[in-house]
């Protein structure tokens, strides 16, 4: 979330799309209710199903799953056509006036530089034009035919209300009503927020859907504003924290990135990430990358990371390609992986195409599962009848299952969706011999290290040299680890202005990332968390819920990254004179000497508002980007592409360009492409989702949840049920190209057929919570049906849009 849960109360218009907060985030949704009750806010819900969020909406519009870019692109067209945009904001705080290179083009659904064999773009033309001074050329009048404003207007001219109705199935009148409501927030004193979740992310064009929404918010001047922003409602309690800490195949903590193998030298690696300003007097905060990186290397390798050995740069593995989950399952299925460790993660249920995951796991030599509960993954080798028809005697994988503590049995912090790091305390001992993940990882590491010490082995240096400063080596405490990622001084740090003064003593915790240095004198395991455990102790444990301004920022409750800032880009909530755009919702302002207010300013504290420095300090432009440059795989402007399993077989925006039917830049493995179904055989569009009463694959082990929601079902609209002769409560079989599930049919008015390109399309709803372990009535893993293809940028699987066939069981 750019903003946070309580801040939703400051919104005038709330758009829930690609999510269902009322059911999936009920206690966060109460702030929608608050905004409606006390601010007179209006709620818009756009969803394939009439959800419980929709049931309390002021306006609900149906949409065909996977067509959100058409809808949102249509809103962008509407705002530009009617000129209902926040002019002062977009002129000064975005790239609308920037001029794009002459060789950039978009034709027949493809951007310049496409290579159909590699399914990849040469992105060199996706950039701005530079002047002789090295800075980007701009046209403040916005008249230049190649300025971002003109290119964007031209790009979305095709996204007419007629097109929205044809592709999304949303009636034009409804669509236009929603456009009007969103446009009502273009004035500086009105704000809309967007709440979304995996309903946007789990598509082969997921990242571009989200980008389209962010562009809409920028046009309306809603980013950085209280009650605004673009708000991802994360699905798990610390999925935000694990991402922040970089536990992904290509990341390091704090959104630093692992080197590619071409980056053999440290200076080369750092130069590519130390972004220089693209316009005069911009902050371009990534200029500090070397400080964050060197401090990380000092936290990990301590004294072994020196200036002489490039801070142990060679200890980091170098990438030749992405090793995301889909890639790893492909490698497993090819027999190229030997071992796999699952720490509180159930990939047999959570990754797409269960049959392929099963095949991959069965080819492993060893599998280690660390979990508080008996997951399907740990028992993938067990024959569970029709839902897991395997022969254990043919599966040679050794499986270890290690019992872990759960939340109630450990201290530590989690990062919620609003970026708050909240500390929690242990209340009970774990059952039996269960141990915490920290103890298990530490013990495992110490045993591996001991073997390398004793026996030697291949490149033992990064293992033997890993800093291990914990008092009890086998049991690092959460406190020790939190202090380590927050950061400390390694030597006495002199004041930059007056070297006779010491700002931090050696060993002292740092107050924030501004104190980090690139000379090895500071250690910090995650720069964006720097200061969470500062000189004054553990700020994550703070419990002051006072809200003196009434705007809901509670700066004394827990600690938010970065720098305890509650609303990102909040400098953009004030105008060029430093006055809040909306005096009623005063977030931060310039007091003549410094920035101050109800939040921690996301800006240089003493930079006058009229100096020309832009509010988007992480971007080298200093402003927000409509034109993504080379940042995205598919193109600088989001374009609609059909789901890989499309009910149409073509892209209505580019009916004559087969290459532009589905995401042209998505990586698809040959085997997965062969596993895609066609509409002739699988005529119904399916989408997966959660229920209020269950959480993922966990709560099927929890008695109370099973009492309220005991048996697997699928939701089918009345019209489809009638067509197929299915009655409510009857058993049905739902098949895709990859397998089938059987479940009870819930015949509902909540899913209505849509008319797409003149033909009737039925959508089917598939809740995900059942499997072959747990206390519920046994069921089928829903991912038996889902296709193995990911988003073109981040490889999140397309769980929300695929083809099935529904029939009587």
């Amino acid at each position: 979330m750019t903003n946070h849960w309580v801040d939703i109360k400051n919104a005038d218009i709330i758009l829930i799309m690609g999510g269902n907060a009322a059911e999936a985030h009920p206690c966060g949704f109460k702030w929608v209710t608050e905004a409606k009750a006390h601010r007179g806010a209006k709620l818009i819900v756009v969803d394939p199903r009439f959800t419980r969020s929709a049931s309390v909406a002021d306006v609900y519009a149906p949409i065909r799953t996977g067509t959100d870019i058409v809808f949102l692109g249509g809103v962008i067209r509407y705002l530009l056509e009617k000129d209902q945009i926040q002019h002062e904001y977009v002129r000064n705080y975005t790239d609308l006036s920037f001029i794009v290179r002459e060789d950039f083009s978009f034709e027949n659904g493809l951007f310049s530089g496409y290579n159909p064999e590699k399914r990849r773009y040469d992105k060199s033309s996706w950039d701005y034009e530079r002047g002789e001074d090295g800075y980007v050329k701009t046209d403040p009048t916005l008249q230049h035919p190649r300025c971002v404003y003109q290119l964007m207007k031209q790009h979305y001219a095709r996204y007419t209300p007629e097109m929205v109705e044809r592709v999304c199935g949303t009636p034009q009148a409804k669509f236009l009503q929603i456009c009007e409501m969103l446009a009502s927030t273009a004035p500086a004193n009105r704000v809309a927020t967007i709440l979304y979740a995996l309903g946007w992310a789990q598509h082969s064009i997921g990242a571009q859907i989200i980008r389209t929404a962010a562009m809409m918010q920028l046009l309306l001047g809603n980013i950085g504003m209280p009650g605004g922003g673009i708000n991802a409602l994360r699905g798990h309690s610390n999925i935000q924290g694990l991402t922040d800490l970089g536990l992904m195949s290509n990341l390091l903590p704090g959104y630093l990135t692992l080197p590619n193998e071409a980056e053999q030298e440290l200076p080369q690696y750092l130069a590519a990430r130390t972004l220089k300003p693209l316009r005069p007097n911009q902050m371009s905060y990534w200029q500090n990358y070397p400080k964050f990186f060197v401090s990380l290397m000092k936290a990990w390798w301590g004294k072994a990371a020196t200036a002489e050995n490039n801070w142990a740069y060679d200890y980091l593995p170098k990438l030749d390609k992405p090793y995301d989950l889909l890639q790893v399952i492909e490698l497993m299925a090819q027999g190229k992986m030997n071992g796999y460790i699952c720490q509180g993660f159930n990939p047999l249920a959570a990754a797409p195409n269960k049959a392929k995951v099963l095949e991959g796991l069965a080819k492993l030599k060893y599998l280690v599962v660390m979990d508080p509960l008996a997951t399907e993954t740990s028992e993938f080798w067990r024959n569970a009848g029709e839902s897991n028809p395997v022969d254990p005697s043919k599966i040679q994988t050794e499986v270890f299952r290690l019992p872990t503590t759960c939340f109630a049995e450990e201290d530590g912090s989690l990062v919620n969706s609003g970026r708050w790091l909240q500390w929690h305390w242990k209340g009970a001992e774990p059952p039996g011999e269960a141990r915490s993940d920290i103890e298990i990882m530490a013990e495992l590491f110490l045993r591996i290290r001991e073997r390398y010490r004793r026996e030697g082995g291949v490149f033992p240096d990064p293992i033997l040299d890993l800093a291990w400063p914990y008092v009890n080596a086998a049991r690092p405490t959460p406190e020790e680890l939190a202090k380590e990622y927050s950061g400390k001084a390694l030597v006495d740090l002199p004041d930059a202005k007056d070297p006779t003064k010491i700002v931090r003593r050696a060993g002292e915790q740092l107050a924030g990332f501004a104190e980090l240095r690139d000379d090895g004198s500071t250690a910090c395991g995650c720069w964006i968390f720097a200061g969470c455990w500062g000189p004054n102790g553990n700020l994550m444990a703070r419990r002051d819920n006072s809200d003196p301004t009434g705007i809901g920022q509670t700066l004394g409750w827990a600690w938010a990254w970065p720098a305890n800032r509650r609303i990102l880009y909040n400098r953009a909530s004030a105008d060029l004179q430093g006055r809040p755009f909306d005096p009623q919702r005063k977030l931060i302002y310039w007091n003549g000497r410094a920035w101050t207010g109800a939040d921690v300013p996301d800006f240089k504290a003493d930079e006058p508002p009229d100096s020309g420095m832009g509010p988007f300090i992480m971007n080298p432009e200093g402003v927000a980007r409509f034109f993504a440059r080379a940042g995205m795989a598919e193109g600088p402007f989001p374009e609609h592409y059909e789901p890989f399993e499309t009910p149409l077989g073509y892209n209505p925006l580019h009916p004559n360009t087969p290459a532009a039917t589905s995401n042209p830049a998505a990586r698809v493995f040959a085997r997965d492409l062969a596993d895609m179904g066609k509409v002739e055989e699988f005529p119904h569009v399916a989408t997966t989702y959660r229920l209020t009463e269950h959480f993922h694959y966990w709560t099927k082990h929890v008695l109370l949840n099973n009492i309220v929601q005991p048996e697997q079902f699928v939701e089918i609209g009345e019209a489809l049920a009638k067509e197929l002769g299915i009655t409510n409560g009857q058993q049905v079989k739902v098949s895709s190209k990859r397998g089938y599930i059987k479940a009870v049919a819930l015949v509902t008015k909540r899913i209505r057929p849509l008319t797409i390109e003149g033909k009737t399309v039925h959508q089917v709803g598939i809740p995900i919570h059942w499997g072959f372990t747990g206390l519920t009535k046994p069921g089928f893993l829903a991912n038996t049906l889902t296709p193995s293809v990911g988003d073109g940028n981040i490889q999140t699987p397309e769980f929300k849009s695929f083809l099935v066939k529904v029939e009587k069981a």
Partner: protein, 195 residues
Amino acid sequence: MNGMNRRQFFKVSAAMLSGSSMAALGLAPQTALAEVRQYKLARMTETRNTCPYCSVGCGILMYGLGDGAKNAKATIVHIEGDADHPVNRGTLCPKGASLIDFIHSPNRLKQPQYRAPGSDKWQTISWDEALDRIAALMKADRDANFVEKTEGKTVNRWLTTGMLAASASSNETAYLTHKIVRSLGMLAFDNQARV
């Protein structure tokens, strides 16, 4: 541990409750033959925690038996929303309200277990056996398949063993896990955010 204020509050409430209900019944406060049953939560240890499910991050209060004395084993008997928490203000959803049954699920794992190649059942093993065997397997695989150089480039990566990290583990677990995994040279490493 924190939360003493709330316990004191309960004690005071319990005393007031006993006084007022006796007055309501018109009883003179003579020799007490029976006392009003003590409010159960008053004798418990209150611990602040966070709901482990979705990312609203609702504050919860866990009430446990066991007073922290040596060898007294705590067990959670009740969980409710934390009224002081700025987001959930004491409320919980159907999932959070059932958390007590997660802690006490009969499907909680209690011992390390091992499934041998081709077997159709678990066998219980000790932590020592399990960790030793896993460490041996990992080292053998790393030593056999670690790539130090390719085409003259230093790459130092280990691709044949991978790891998926959790979505509900603490930052401290996540940080230590990441540190260890990269020291081994592992690249096939993701968390639930990928899906």
